[in-house]
Symmetry: C2
Amino acid sequence: MQIGEISKKTGLSISTLRYYDKHGLLQNIDRSNGGIRKFDDKDLEALRIIICLKTSGMKISEIKQFMDWCSKGDTTIDKRLNMFYQQEKNINEQIDILNKSLKLIKFKQWYYEAAKRDGTEKNVKDMNLDDYPDDIRKLYEEAHIIW
Amino acid sequence: MQIGEISKKTGLSISTLRYYDKHGLLQNIDRSNGGIRKFDDKDLEALRIIICLKTSGMKISEIKQFMDWCSKGDTTIDKRLNMFYQQEKNINEQIDILNKSLKLIKFKQWYYEAAKRDGTEKNVKDMNLDDYPDDIRKLYEEAHIIW
DNA sequence: ATACAATCTAAACCTTAGTTTAGGTCAAGT
DNA sequence: ACTTGACCTAAACTAAGGTTTAGATTGTAT
């Protein structure tokens, strides 16, 4: 497979694939005599994990580190394993933060629904905590511990 | 409160606060006669939501749009409400993607635990799907639909 | 009055993650 | 041999989100 086909299969642009190659994420990609990149299924498999790591917030340089470890063989198994445990933590933290954001977002939805009903923000802006419905007050309070 | 105190309270650097101000996120911040920014509790409250939106992936320019709407008053209530519904969707999509990443990550953890036990990646690399434990095979398959 | 820390601005700089451009090569079909 | 689409590289460019620098001002404490 050539770069165009890989681009279609992965959804990454051709220039991004070349960028990844240049930065050491695509290790030992074959080339034709003329210098054209020849990808196989293993490369595609590697791209899968690259995309997954990228999507979950890992930096290019960290992914390169991982690919370097892969090339280095069995002596780096422990490092790679630890990386995946660390990345699990990172992802869970991200999810946690997003769930917390959601609380403030939902409070604001309630707030603006009330403003919409009234045709003005005034009333709801002047309300105090005790006037909020219980579930909304809870959202508000939880959100304000964090943000 | 001056910028240094706000920096400590929000965790944003002083230069970031000035950057936000310059880009229209901090609207109608008072200034002393000498030109020094004077923040009050309402400003701090606005920063809370700015930080929350930022953290959940909204761009500076979009946050500015929201702050502009806030300044414009009641005619923009609907736009602001819609923005919060849209942001809820965005966040849920992000959480979804992260949960999917987690499946591939956990498969890799199993993979490298096996490699670690064996002292080599060889055996586990050569295994085929049927040899995986049921739960791991499921992880692998689910992860490979996506990535 | 003077010292001093904290603040101010504009402008340059930085990093990350690519994209675009320009000028060339490769290889398959005619 | 020639055309054509896909590919190649290096280098410049872009955008977002800040950070750093330099030089000036503010305002509080002695």
